[in-house]
Each structure stands twice: as structure tokens, then as C-alpha cells.
Amino acid sequence: MRGPVRREDLTPRQLQVIEATEPVVLVLGGPGTGKTTTALWAAREELSRPAVLSWQRVLFLTFSRTAVAQIAKRSPGVLGPESHRIEISTFHGFAWRLLRSFGRYGGQGIITPTLQSAARIKLLGQDTTRLSYDDLIPRMLALLKSETLLRLLTRRWPLVICDEFQDTDDDQWTVLATLARNARLLVLADPNPSVDTSKPAIGRHLKTGHRSGRSRPDVL
């Protein structure tokens, strides 16, 4: 899946996604259809818009560290000198970052939190001084009750990109919906039925999160 890097190599459909200004854009495409490249180009386009200020950035959320590494590797090729203005992270990494920076204002105490793995809990039992993996996103969402913190966050990212959108659960969707209060949302999804049937369908999330008519599904 080596997507084109030069703008003139993009297809008209890809250009349509990049130039879109709708609040929510859904891009459907199977593996290797160039979703990531298109998203990086959309980030570059967003950062070059006159209304976007020099201190603003694009947030790119995905699910695995492998995906983060892949996107990070490809971003300089598209964004060039602006590549420091794209923040790529997993949902959990994103929650961890916010908890480390601001968890102290949510009852977490001033000590930098430590994580405990599921295996550790099984072996040693629940350690209340440590955060478990499943705590991260709910705890982070609790922080966003603060208007001050929420304002700080939502001003930072005028565009939030979510990869593998079909895999988002309710909490992850809430994260996206909250960040999208002032931001545009670009969601990338693989239309093939998800193996994990516990995850809700794409359509349900977009319907519950946004008034109909504001979203524009787009298929690559």
C-alpha cells in the first residue's frame, strides 16, 4: 500500500476528500486503497488553510502501535516541514498522555500514574494505585468535564482523523464526538464486516453523534 505522495498523483476521489470542508467525512475503503495517504494529504490541506493558525495541529487516532509507526513513517513524505504538526497516537496512548499531563486535576494525585497489565491483575490482583488499560479512556473522558481543559483540547486540533473507525467502541466514539465539537472529523473505515461483533456498526456511531445531513459518506 505505497500510496502516491505527490498531489498530482492523487485521484479525483482522493482530492474530493482532501478538499472537503464538511464537519464529518467518512472514507470507506479496503486495505491498500490509499486511505492513510489520503488522510495525510487531508491533514496537510487542513494545516495550510488560512483559518488554521500556526499553533494548531491535526490529531490522527488509530488502534495499534504498528499503525502509529506506519503513519508516522509516511507523514514526513506528505507533510514535509509541517510534519511536527500532526500528532499520531493510539486511542489509549492519547488517553495516557492526557492523564499524565492533566490527571492530577481529576483526583489522580500528583504522582505520575503507572499502568498495570491484565496479566498482572490476574497474577497479583487489582492494585488500586495503578491504572489498568481499561481505565484509561473512561478516566480521560472524566477529565473533559472541565470546560477549561476541553477548550484547550478542542482549540488544538481543527481536524481529527480516525483510522479503522469500524473498530471504535462507545467510549472511543465519545472521545471522537467530544473532540469534534469544534473540529472536523475524518473517519477512515474498512467496509468489510468487522470480525468483532461486539463493536457497534459504523452507521450507528455516525447517526448518534451527528445530525443527519451533516455527514457525507464517501467511498474510495
Binding site: W55, Q56, S101, F102, R104, Y105, I110, S146, E147, T148
Partner: protein, 590 residues
């Protein structure tokens, strides 16, 4: 961007000190009380250059005790979106009322925009390495550092560069083309790249032109004579001298070349183009201020140590005012009262020393009402002459001050008595002209002086009804460290006249009458005793006060004994107070 709080811990002469700036800061105080150390501390925090090389000596540690780290911690607010987002993960919550960092909250909803701000905290730290006999120092984020575990989250050089801060280092650094200079950064930060290409062209052309030197017949002959005996050992073969020897700008580099280029200025005043150093230090200082403001911009912080040194009072004042009105925050240390004048009383930070050499920090209070603000401004102006003193002698009005100041000069020149300034004591007055409001103005000024850490001796008249006299004394004793009271029934005029030969008084008054064109109220020749004193008193109060002139007009060797006693007593007590030798408040009745 603005500094909201500075904490100095174990740094240089400071054991522990906190400064909570109002808006801008003007740092004044006794010599050696820490003005320069504060400005240096700020530079260590903000300047990427300041921590580039290791610390060579233990002098930065309080009492040279290297068992503790020396620290300068600052809280930076007014970040606006740009810096807030740049330092996103390092932001902390600041309590505006308490003027301190909020460590933690139980509920994020408690962050309240009317009471809290998002701020950035940085800490400069120095630690001494006994084995290597040098210090390591750095700047970190205290929020994510764990000093007890010696784990520090250091700020990167690139991030430091995002903070608009500059220190003005005297004159002579303006328009410097050196590669790391603020001027070069300013030029290279400007739109376009034509300067860079001009630099390239300069280098090429210099090489071209200088290359022609060695090709000239004259130089070829000279070079051949030098190379003649070296051709074999150097294996030069038949190459020409011009091929072997080239002339390049210093070191062959552009930076070497730029070092030899200095600014020359034509002020269109008929003197033509002159190198900047020849234009005088005033222009250099002005360009330095202009350059600093251009570098940091309107959101930046400017600091300067000993601002106004080497400048005339007017330029110094104008430049201080320009800085104050153009930068987001300025931190000036100065010994110049004219520079202090452009600041609000609440912006004055005064450093003093206690009797054991410890450092004390005093800050002007922020007024809460308009009346308080106006009064504070007025009293600040009255205190200006004393900003570098240890103690003040506060007199009721300018007549008293003129008389005692001139008396001090006469005692010095005729009898060798040290001036009050020799003890770092300054005579000021509470500004009352007719004496009626003087006794109530003195205690208020004494309080204002005490707020700035000055020791105070009030010198007051002793006239009026007994009830009024008692109340005045009480009030003065409450506000000043000590009170010196003229003898009962005496004001300044009687203090000047008592004990002086009557004939001398008559001659002196007659001389003054001629010199200043003020007629004597009555013929003095036949007057004696109380009527003479009454006439003399009335005369001295004329023409805006002739008190100082009277003291100076007295013949050599004649010094009013009562006034002398008052002055000497006041100085002695002021010195005692400044030395910390005054254990309780005293009132001396003469």
C-alpha cells in the same frame, strides 16, 4: 507572556526569596542586596546560551554550600494560544488569588476560568559535582520532574527558543552581524532569503578580488623570494606563487569576514558616516533597546541589569518608559531614580540586607482604591531619592530638608563630620510646605518607606496644643522606627536660630535680604530676644523658604547648635536602626 512568580532558592546571595510581580518590575535597593543576581537568575531560566557550558565555580550556591541545589523557579502566564499549545503537556493550573500553583484537584470541574489560569512553570537548577570540581546546570519542568529521585524533565533548547525573552547587556551589541547574535536572528527571521544570497555573493567576490593580489607582479616577486628555498622540501614543483598562496577573508569563512564588519551610522547631522562606537554610548544604548524590542515583540519579556548606567538621566528615563510601554513585561534593575519614576509604586521591588547580611525582598503594595493609588504614587516620588539607602530621616517639609541637608554639608566641609550618605542614610521630606500638615504626612511616608524595607527616623516639630502633640507623637511612633522631636515649642526656624549670636543673626539676615531681594519686615538693629526671633522666623519663611540659604550664609565656624544636635541625633539613630541595633522604638526629645 509574563512572569507571575519567581522563587529563588539557595541561589547566589538568596537563601529563600519570592517575588510576585504586579505587572512590570523595577528592581532597586542597596548595593549587594541581590539586584544583579535576580536578573542573572531570570537569564539562566530563559536564555539557551546561559546553560550551554558547565558552571566553573561554587559562587552560585548560597554561602558556597554546594550540598543543596541552587534553584530559580518561574511561573509564566499570559501564554495565549501559541505558547499554551506549544507547551500543552506542561501546562499547570495557577490560582490567581493565592498566586501559587494548584498541585492537584479532586474534580476537573473545579478548574474555574475566573479564578485559575493555565501557566507554564520552569526551574533552573545547578548542582555541584565535587569530584569534577564543576557544576552541572539545566532548566526543567518541575511538574514532571522528581527532584528527590534526581529525575528531571529538561526543557529542550528548541522549546526555550519559543519563549520570547531577551536581556539587554549594556551597550555595544546592537547591529552585531555575528552568527548567534540577536540581530542576525532578527534578519534571518524576516521574510525572504536575499540576505543569505547577498552573504554568498560577498564571500565569492571577496575571494575573487583578493585572489588577484597574489597574481600581481609585485606580490609574485615577493612570494617567489619567500618560496625559493622551500620549493624542494615542500615538493612544490613548478607551480606559480599565485597558485600556491591565496588570500581569503579571516579563516576563509563568512563568519570571520562578518566579524570585521561593524555598523556605521549617518544620523544626517552633518557628521557623516561614523562607526557606531564613535557615535557615542547613547546611540548604541538606544539601538540596543530598539533591537531588543524588535527581537522579543510585544508579547515578550525584557530584562536588564543596572539599566541607565552610562546614560544621561533623560535618555535612561525615556528608554525605560519605552521598554515599559512596548514589552509585555520588563524586569529592570536600576540605581537611577529617574528610571524608577516611570514605574507604578506596585511595580517597585526593593532588595535590602538585614544586619546579618541576609537578603530581604520588599514589594510595593497593589492599591485597591483610587485614593490609595494616587497617594502611593505621590509617596513613591518622595521616596525615590532613597531607593539605594539603608535608612531615611523623614522631615516634615522641604524647608526642613533644605536646612538639614545644607547643615550636613557645612559640618562635613568645616568639621569633617561624615555626611549622612556615608552611612547610606538619606534625608527626605513629607512634602508639607507650611508645616501644618507635616506632622501627619510624616507617619504616612514612614509607612511607605517601611514597606520598601527602609528603616525610618521621623523628625518632627514640637508645637501646638498638648492633645495634638500627644497624638502626633503616638502616630509617628507607630509608623517610624524612631522619632526625634524638636524642643517644646520649637519648629525648624527656632532650631536654626537658637544658640546663634544675635548680631550674627542680624548680619546674616541682612545679607540674605540683599542677595535675594527680600525686604526685612522690620528694622532689626534695635531688636533682641523673642521679638528678634519672631522677625527672623517670619523672614525665613518668605520667598518660598530661605532656611537652607540661611545655613549657608552663616559665617565660617558658626553652625546652629540646636539644629546640629537634631541632625546628629537623627543620623545616629538611623545608623543604629539600619545596623539592627535598635531593639525597640524610641522617641528622643531634645
Amino acid at each position: 507572556m509574563r512572569i507571575l512568580r519567581v522563587d529563588l532558592r539557595h541561589f547566589r546571595g538568596f537563601d529563600v526569596a519570592t517575588i510576585l510581580p504586579a505587572q512590570h518590575v523595577v528592581v532597586v535597593g542597596e548595593p549587594g542586596a541581590g539586584r544583579s543576581d535576580l536578573i542573572e537568575g531570570l537569564e539562566r531560566v530563559f536564555s539557551p546560551e546561559a546553560t550551554r557550558v558547565r558552571l566553573p565555580s561554587e559562587l552560585d550556591f548560597y554561602n558556597r554550600d554546594t550540598s543543596l541545589r541552587a534553584e530559580v523557579e518561574v511561573v509564566i502566564g499570559d501564554l495565549r494560544d501559541e505558547l499554551e499549545q506549544a507547551f500543552f503537556d506542561h501546562l499547570e493550573v495557577w490560582d490567581r488569588d493565592k498566586q501559587e500553583i494548584v498541585d492537584q484537584l479532586t474534580d476537573p470541574d473545579q478548574i474555574d476560568r475566573t479564578a485559575h489560569d493555565l501557566v507554564l512553570r520552569l526551574c533552573y537548577r545547578a548542582a555541584w559535582d565535587e569530584k569534577q570540581e564543576q557544576g552541572e546546570h539545566w532548566v526543567d519542568y518541575p511538574k514532571t520532574s522528581e527532584p528527590d529521585a534526581a529525575r528531571f524533565d529538561r526543557i529542550t533548547r528548541a522549546d526555550k527558543n519559543l519563549l520570547p525573552f531577551a536581556v539587554i547587556h549594556g551597550a555595544g551589541r546592537a547591529l552585531d552581524l555575528g552568527s548567534r547574535s540577536p540581530f542576525r536572528r532578527l534578519v534571518q527571521g524576516a521574510v525572504g532569503d536575499d540576505f543569505v544570497s547577498a552573504l554568498g555573493r560577498l564571500e565569492e567576490q571577496i575571494e575573487d578580488h583578493a585572489g588577484q593580489f597574489s597574481a600581481t607582479a609585485q606580490m609574485t616577486e615577493a612570494l617567489e623570494r619567500i618560496l625559493e628555498h622551500l620549493r624542494t622540501p615542500l615538493a612544490l614543483g613548478k607551480a606559480t606563487a599565485a597558485d600556491i598562496v591565496h588570500f581569503l577573508p579571516e579563516g576563509g569563512s563568512v563568519s570571520g569576514l562578518l566579524r570585521s564588519l561593524g555598523p556605521a551610522i549617518d544620523l544626517k547631522d552633518g557628521r557623516g558616516v561614523l562607526p557606531l562606537p564613535r557615535q557615542g554610548s547613547t546611540l548604541a544604548a538606544m539601538l540596543g533597546v530598539g533591537q531588543t524590542l524588535a527581537t522579543v515583540g510585544v508579547r515578550g519579556i525584557v530584562a536588564a541589569d543596572d539599566f541607565g548606567e552610562g546614560l544621561d538621566a533623560e535618555t535612561a528615563q525615556h528608554l525605560a518608559a519605552t521598554l515599559r510601554s512596548s514589552a509585555a513585561q520588563i524586569w529592570l534593575s536600576t540605581r537611577r531614580p529617574r528610571c524608577v519614576e516611570v514605574f507604578r509604586p506596585s511595580e517597585v521591588v526593593r532588595f535590602a540586607k538585614n544586619s546579618r547580611g541576609g537578603r530581604l525582598v520588599y514589594q510595593g503594595r497593589v492599591p485597591t482604591t483610587k485614593a490609595e493609588r494616587l497617594a502611593a504614587r505621590h509617596r513613591n516620588m518622595q521616596l525615590l531619592p532613597a531607593i539605594t539607602a539603608r535608612a531615611v530621616i523623614i522631615l516634615e517639609g522641604p524647608h526642613n530638608r533644605a536646612a538639614f541637608t545644607d547643615l550636613a554639608f557645612r559640618l562635613f566641609y568645616e568639621m569633617g563630620t561624615p555626611l549622612p550618605s556615608a552611612h547610606r542614610v538619606t534625608i527626605i521630606d513629607a512634602g508639607s510646605v507650611d508645616g501644618s500638615g507635616g506632622s501627619s504626612a510624616v507617619p504616612r511616608l514612614a509607612l511607605a518607606a517601611a514597606e520598601l524595607g527602609l528603616r525610618t527616623v521621623a523628625v518632627i516639630d514640637h508645637d501646638g496644643s498638648s492633645d495634638q502633640v500627644r497624638k502626633e507623637l503616638e502616630e509617628n511612633l507607630r509608623c517610624a522606627d524612631a522619632v526625634v522631636r524638636l524642643p517644646a515649642g520649637h519648629a525648624i526656624e527656632l532650631a536654626l536660630l537658637t544658640g546663634v549670636d544675635e548680631e550674627v543673626i542680624k548680619t546674616t539676615l541682612t545679607d540674605l535680604s540683599k542677595a535675594f531681594g527680600v525686604s526685612l519686615p522690620v528694622d532689626l538693629t534695635t531688636l533682641t530676644g523673642a521679638p528678634l526671633f519672631a522677625a527672623a522666623r517670619a523672614f525665613l519663611k518668605q520667598a518660598g523658604g530661605l532656611h537652607g540659604q540661611f545655613v549657608l550664609a552663616l559665617p565660617p565656624g558658626v553652625v546652629p547648635p540646636e539644629a546640629r544636635l537634631v541632625l546628629q541625633t537623627a543620623i545616629d539613630i538611623a545608623v543604629k536602626a539600619a545596623d539592627g541595633a535598635l531593639t525597640e522604638k524610641v522617641c528622643v526629645d531634645l
